[in-house]
């Protein structure tokens, strides 16, 4: 009987160990698959961003003919400048997007227009209009999945709080960028209003993304001795409306550096159990607030912040992976003149 018990105990422990090994291995393989797919999708779409610029006259105060005539004035052309109705903006997510109850939005957000051909009207056959213009945005959000999971699961499976990479896509029919004249005060409404609407136009593309960084910069060959495009990761092609950076006026940055930090699901469960969304380094503004100056020398704030974050994740025994790439914006014809 004793020998039988020992044999069974040994067999059970071997089965248990094998099961754990298989589970851990398959978990590691599948854990970052979704993050990788989301990263690929994000980088592809950012590279497709467009401003569709053209040149037109403005008066001495920088106002267009329409702006002047709409306010009852007489338009006196003064300069011939680059114009666009479209908008490309990156920056801190919690400053670009209005706060919402139960949501934490750490690190950065990016919003732009691209020709993705997305329409809410069901198309079939060859009626695909792949060059339709859409508005797109990405940001990281911590919150519950109760808003976007199937309703019948309520009461069966508990809602999960996770950090997620969210994507906003506005279909062509509801594109808001042309719906109003952009002014300094309302220039972000084309994406803030849809995000505030119920249901929100933001959807999760990947779970367990704890940080997203979007850094608009010059090409390396063009950065020597020149001021960086942004000191705080904010790059806004309409900031000139409020007296901001004139270099970014209606022009796409040549390169956008993208960095995503993903953790796996077991790590996310441990993080949730310990901090429930209150981890200090995963709060808005805690990291990635100061952009690097490629020409300035010294250590890079981006690398320093990334090290702080990865050190924290390592100290908490969380399994993580960092995805990073430099995206060449195809339609950028950057000129500092």
């Amino acid at each position: 009987m004793g020998i039988l018990a020992i044999l069974m105990a040994v067999t059970l422990s071997m089965v248990n160990m094998t099961t754990k090994l298989v589970r851990n291995t398959s978990g590691k393989i599948s854990a970052f698959k979704e993050s990788r797919a989301a990263f690929d999708s994000l980088t592809r779409r950012v590279s497709q961003s467009t401003l569709n610029t053209y040149y037109d006259y403005v008066d001495s105060s920088g106002k267009s003919r329409k702006e002047v005539e709409d306010s009852g004035g007489v338009f006196v052309p003064d300069k011939y400048v680059r114009q666009s109705e479209l908008h490309f903006v990156t920056g801190q997510a919690n400053t670009l997007i209005p706060a919402a109850a139960g949501k934490i939005r750490p690190s950065h957000a990016i919003f732009f227009q691209a020709m993705l051909g997305f329409s809410s009207l069901p198309c079939s056959g060859d009626a695909q209009l792949s060059n339709l213009l859409n508005a797109v945005g990405y940001f990281v959000e911590y919150g519950s999945d109760a808003d976007f999971r199937p309703g019948f699961l309520d009461g069966i499976t508990p809602a999960r709080n996770r950090y997620r990479l969210m994507q906003m896509v506005q279909n062509t029919e509801t594109l808001r960028i042309y719906s109003q004249a952009l002014t300094a005060g309302n220039r972000f409404e084309w994406f803030t209003k849809p995000l505030e609407a119920t249901p929100s136009q933001a959807r999760p593309v990947a779970e367990n993304i704890v940080a997203a960084v979007f850094w608009a910069r010059r090409a390396k060959e063009d950065s020597d001795g020149k001021a960086p495009l942004t000191a705080n990761y904010t790059y806004d092609t309409k900031s000139y409306l409020s007296g901001g950076n004139a270099v970014s006026r209606n022009q796409l940055p040549p390169v956008v550096e993208v960095l995503l930090v993903a953790i796996d699901e077991p790590s996310a469960m441990r993080l949730e159990a310990k901090y429930a969304g209150t981890a200090p380094l995963l709060q808005p503004g805690a990291l990635f607030a100061t952009a690097p100056d490629p020409g300035g020398g010294g250590s890079s704030p981006l690398s320093d912040d990334l090290k702080k974050l990865t050190d924290f994740l390592t100290a908490e025994s969380l399994n993580f992976r960092v995805f990073t790439t430099s995206i060449q914006i195809r339609q950028s014809k950057f000129s500092a003149d």
Partner: protein, 213 residues
């Protein structure tokens, strides 16, 4: 003296015969104990096997859906994730139990037809599986495995990874889902079955996520 020896020999012989004629009480208790232990080990593993079928079926569906999406993105074409309703392996009626990928432009199959494990199938209830429900306009009847007029329902993926499903959900609200249940099980209360796996497809991002109770 002789008589004593003979008596002793007889006595040993009698004891040996009685030992060979059956099992002792201790031996019986040990055997019954082993049988009980084995039964205790096997009973939960039967339900684990049923759960394993559901897991294997949902993993197969999620994997094929991701493959359809990735193929659409990587090869810049429209792909179709098609779910077939075929006669069940147990000889019963038809049930949603097979999946295959196709190109939309040429109709060419992009891989072999995969049957779900025999112990699991997709529930046809609109509430839990809207993708095979009446509100999904993509579907029809076709011949597969030399069986004419097999019903199918589809999810089509575009080169940007999004689907052609109504972005607002089936009928303008709700989620696009597929729910795998153990074969022969029925809804219990507000849930599709005691054990199930629900796959949700985001029509815009093409992301597939699995929920388990």
């Amino acid at each position: 003296m002789n008589s004593l020896i003979i008596a002793g020999t007889k006595s040993k012989s009698v004891r040996r015969n009685s030992r060979n004629s059956g099992y002792s009480l201790v031996e019986l208790i040990v055997v019954i104990g082993v049988i009980l232990v084995l039964a205790a080990l096997i009973t939960p593993s039967l339900s684990i096997m049923r759960g394993h079928n559901v897991t294997a079926a949902s993993d197969l569906l999620a994997g094929q859906m991701e493959l359809a999406r990735q193929t659409a993105v990587a090869e810049n074409l429209r792909t179709e994730f098609r779910i077939w309703s075929l006669p069940s392996a147990s000889g019963g009626g038809s049930e949603w139990n097979a999946v295959q990928l196709y190109r939309v432009d040429s109709g060419e199959a992009l891989g072999k037809l995969h049957r779900l494990p025999a112990g699991a199938n997709i529930t046809g209830d609109d509430k839990y599986s809207s993708i095979v429900g009446t509100k999904n306009p993509y579907g029809g009847n076709a011949t597969v495995f030399n069986i004419a007029s097999c019903p199918f329902k589809s999810v089509r993926f575009g080169p940007d990874g999004s689907t052609e499903l109504d972005p607002n959900g089936p009928g303008g609200a709700g989620a696009w889902t597929l729910t795998v249940i153990p074969a022969g099980s029925s809804p219990s209360g507000n849930r599709p079955a005691k054990n199930f796996a629900t796959l949700q497809v985001d029509p815009i991002t093409g992301r597939c996520i699995t929920y388990r109770p």
